[in-house]
Amino acid sequence: MNISFVLNGKPVSVEVEPATLLCDLLRETLGLTGTHIGCDTSQCGACVLHVDDSSVKSCTLLAVAVDGARVTTVEGLGKPDALHPMQVAFHENHGLQCGFCTPGMLMSSVEFARRYPNPTDADVRHWLEGNLCRCTGYQNIVASVLRGAAAMRGEQRV
């Protein structure tokens, strides 16, 4: 099947098998390996990206489902020389270690920040229940998300 969608701001038209998963299309065909696959039961959240601004687990979505949609992956969130505020927050708060869960954490957190105007520590922890990290013990991830959300609201660092 041929599908067309907007990927990180650019139109894409591509031939896919009906059973192809979105994460596989991105990684194997479109060369975007920032979206990671850490499990086979949709538990770990390493593959989270945005479809029309909603965070979704791309290991659970058929590629054909994004026909006509806007897809944003971690590669489209910010650039190495112009990081997104959430990426800056993860960097400044040591919110990543091995980096494998990071793309999914970032993409989940950006949607979280858009949804929660005044988030608490507990809000972040509850929201990230679907993103596993084995390195950080989550403490610095939670701090990163709170800071990144504040930065997205335009608040300066204190």
Binding site: I37, C44, H94, L128, G137
Partner: protein, 795 residues
């Protein structure tokens, strides 16, 4: 502008940018031209004879390039997977070391045991063909628990290993221990299970292999913590590939925790198959496959006793452990429950006599090997639970009984009765700081507040020590290590003064690129942004033993420090020539070589340029270039330690345990980057909390099927299971490492299980509970609370 960042500063990590922007380079991200895909066929049975394998139906399927079996490997002379550490039993005989074929030969010994490898054009084709490989099994009775495995009528995994006993090992002075027990005023006893764990780094294992018949060169990309060791073990022992014809690359690796520090069957099979098929092959482990093929951790059954005098002084400790090492000997399997366990049983106490016996046992389960902490959390758990039981039985405060028995700061270096000599430490300092930071004294008030809400609150303490920084090669050799345990580093100063560090450790989350740059900054005065660290490629880095056992900074960092010193030494000779002075008069500080007492100086960049453009240079006595290499072999282990305090609240209705407070005060020696150390402590502590409250690897007793085989069945700690932790350091510098560092990767995982378990038991103490096995799940607590209330009702 110069931005020199040295030891003790907290620069943000150099490695972050690629991970934050999806530009990491993990094995699964790599593609090679004309690459085929491999899939393993794994045993569905825990124990069975392979009567026949028929690959023909699979080979006839579209896109299939090859099916490799154990018999193929045997016919080709491929060796078994070697064990890197042999142990000797108390009878003086070596451990039983049955062969560990890369693909099963004749028999399978655990669910997930690899039986065949299918290579095809696409993943889908390989998966379909894997299902078409016809294997005729004769299923045998399986044994999964250690107590069953040593029974007289137990099924035997290996015909020549009676009672499934790999080794019956002992440490310590039995007679002195027995004598001390006879004098004891009180004996505290415990019988416990240390639950089996699955490490589960978030990146599943993966490998790509390629062979160039024109050069005879093999390349293996692998998710490994130690590529040089894989090259050595696989090249020299399994595939007979000369070392100079084998390159092993471990690029970005998504977490290790020990799980990726073994030479795995898949690495050897894919490398052999790539040459046979004549194409690069990629294999990416699925998570469900990792659950039955990544080496697992812990799994002890232990009986232990602590003898005390009337005042609560520890007189002796006796420990009897049966340790499960699974269906085969993994790379370091036998070493973990023995050499990394027994010597830790002194803990931070002056116990004069200790005797420990460990039976290392085969079962029809996935091989057990090192997982973060590896042996040391198990030892700490036994000791710290016993200390709490003794305190409770003798009516002594839990902190006080520890104080009475702690090694005083002045007593270091301290020789324990179980082999090791601690060089430095201040356990009492850590304890007092932890008690204060956690507001131990205010607990009663918090307990009342919880009680008013109908909740049971408990607080627990763990004071512990670790032996890490693996390892002094000579001592390790005496203990059975079959390799050296030094580390190597090269400091390459470029003609511009920029620096590349090439080091044999592997960075898979620990922040080495940042920490090592700080060491070079401190030593050579080179700006932070002018230093890069190269690791994980045997063609780039001279040699190395890799990253495990909290060794990278301790051993690798020391090698780096030594190599930097050599750069300064050579630089001084060059500076003396350029400044027309004597070498003795040259001083080096902050990146500048100066003639003492003058303002004549040269920068490191000036010296480097002169070394690479040697027009004005003492060529008669000095080689050009500015690149120095050092190997460092430590003289002792390092001994980080600390005190952890956990506080839990239990809802007696649901029996759910909530961890509400956690405080850790750790002595990791000199801290290079506090931000990174705190991150390591957070992660380590949560893995230990995982063991204490959530994680449990369970096999069906009869069939040997893994019941906890996915993230839906194996409970990983999640963000909403945890409180905000308080971590702090209380450092005494290591007496023998160049920078005083001790290592911080595993401490969290060592201190936390006992702290949490002690808190859970404390919360239930009023019910007469004196032990709760891990994990303290709602189900387990419900049974305990129910049975104790039934008992109380009956009384």
């Amino acid at each position: 502008m110069s931005n020199v960042i040295g030891i003790g500063a907290r620069p943000l990590r150099k490695e972050d940018r690629r991970f934050l922007t999806g530009r990491g380079n993990y094995v699964a991200d790599i593609k090679r031209p004309d690459m085929a895909v491999g899939v393993f066929v794994r045993s569905p049975h825990a124990h069975a004879i392979i009567k026949s394998i028929d690959a023909a139906p699979a080979l006839a399927m579209p896109g299939v390039l090859a099916v490799v079996t154990g018999e193929d490997l045997k016919a080709a002379g491929v060796g078994g997977l070697p064990c890197g550490w042999g142990i000797t039993g108390k009878d003086g005989l070596p451990m039983k070391e049955p062969p560990h074929p890369a693909l099963a030969q004749g028999k399978v010994r655990h669910v997930g045991d690899p039986v065949a490898f299918v290579v095809a054009e696409t993943r889908e084709q390989a998966q379909s063909a894997a299902e078409a490989v016809k294997i005729d099994y004769e299923v045998l009775p399986a044994v999964v628990g250690v107590l069953d495995a040593i029974k007289r009528d137990a099924p035997l995994l290996f015909e020549d290993v009676p009672s499934n006993l790999c080794c019956d090992w002992a440490l310590g002075d039995r007679a002195a221990t027995d004598a001390a027990f006879r004098k004891a005023a009180h004996v505290a006893r415990i019988s416990l299970v240390n639950n089996r764990l699955i490490g589960n780094p978030m990146e599943p294992r993966a490998a790509i292999a390629e062979y160039n018949p024109a050069t005879g060169q093999y390349t293996l990309w692998s998710t490994s913590q130690f590529p040089h060791v894989v090259r050595m073990l696989m090249g020299a022992f399994v595939l007979n590939i000369p070392q100079h014809k084998l390159r092993v690359v471990a690029p970005d690796v998504g977490g290790g925790f020990g799980v990726k520090q073994f030479h795995y069957a898949e690495e050897a099979v894919i490398t052999w198959a790539a040459a046979k098929v004549g194409r690069p092959i990629k294999w990416v482990c699925e998570r469900s496959e990792g659950f039955v093929s990544d080496a697992q951790g812990r799994d002890h059954v232990t009986e232990a006793e602590l003898a005390l005098d009337e005042s609560g002084k520890f007189l002796a400790l006796r420990v009897n452990t049966i340790a499960n090492i699974g269906g085969y000997i993994s790379t370091f399997g036998p070493n973990i429950p023995t050499n990394l366990y027994g010597p830790l049983l002194a803990g931070v106490y002056t116990t004069p006599a200790i005797y420990c016996e460990v039976k290392v046992v085969f079962t029809n389960t996935v091989p057990v090997d090192a997982y973060r902490g590896a042996g040391r959390p198990e030892a700490t758990f036994v000791l710290e639970r016993l200390v709490d039981i003794a305190a409770s039985e003798m009516g002594i405060d839990r902190a006080e009984i520890r104080r009475r028995n702690m090694i005083p700061k002045e007593a270091y270096p301290y020789q324990t009765p179980v082999m090791v000599q601690y060089d430095s430490g201040d356990p009492k300092g850590c304890l007092e700081k932890a008690l204060e930071t956690s507001d131990w004294a205010g607990f009663a008030k918090r307990k009342s507040a919880s009680a008013a809400k109908g909740k049971l609150r408990g607080i627990g303490l763990c004071t512990y020590i670790e032996a890490c920084g693996l390892a002094p090669s000579r001592i390790a050799g005496r203990l059975g290590a079959r390799g050296g345990l030094y580390e190597s580093a090269t400091v390459r100063v470029h003609p511009t003064g920029h620096v590349t560090v090439l080091i044999g450790t592997h960075n898979h989350g620990q922040g080495h690129e940042t920490t090592y740059a700080q060491i070079v900054g401190e030593k050579l005065g080179v700006p932070f942004e002018n230093i890069d660290v190269v690791f994980g490629d045997t063609d780039k880095v001279q040699f190395g033993m890799g990253t495990y056992g909290s060794r990278s900074l301790v051993v690798g960092g020391a090698a780096l420090s030594k190599a930097s010193d050599k750069v300064v030494l050579k630089g001084k000779k060059i500076a003396a020539h350029l400044l027309e002075s004597s070498e003795q008069d040259i001083e080096f500080a902050a990146g500048k070589f100066k003639v003492a007492g003058t303002d004549r100086k040269k920068t490191l960049a000036d010296i480097a340029l002169a070394a690479y453009v040697p027009h004005d240079y003492p060529l008669e006595v000095l080689e050009p270039g500015l690149e120095e290499q050092a190997y460092y072999d430590p003289v002792n282990f390092t001994y980080p330690g600390g005190a952890h305090v956990a506080e839990v609240e239990i809802d007696p209705e649901t029996c759910i345990v909530s961890l509400v407070n956690y405080t850790a005060v750790d002595d990791v020696g000199t801290v290079i980057n506090p931000m990174i150390v705190e991150g390591q402590l957070h992660g380590g502590i949560v893995q230990g909390i995982g063991q204490a409250l959530f994680e449990n690897c369970i096999y069906d007793d009869l069939s040997g099927q893994l019941l906890s085989g996915s993230f839906m069945d194996y409970c990983m700690p999640r963000a909403d299971n945890l409180p905000r932790m308080t971590v702090a350091t209380h450092s005494t510098p290591c007496a023998h490492t160049p920078m005083g560092v001790k290592g911080c990767g595993e401490v969290g995982t060592i201190g936390s299980p006992a702290a949490v378990a002690n808190a859970v038991v404390d919360a239930l103490a009023h019910l007469g509970v004196n032990h709760v096995d891990m994990p303290a799940t709602a189900n387990r607590l419900w049974r305990i609370i129910k049975s104790s209330s039934l008992l109380q009702a009956a009384e």
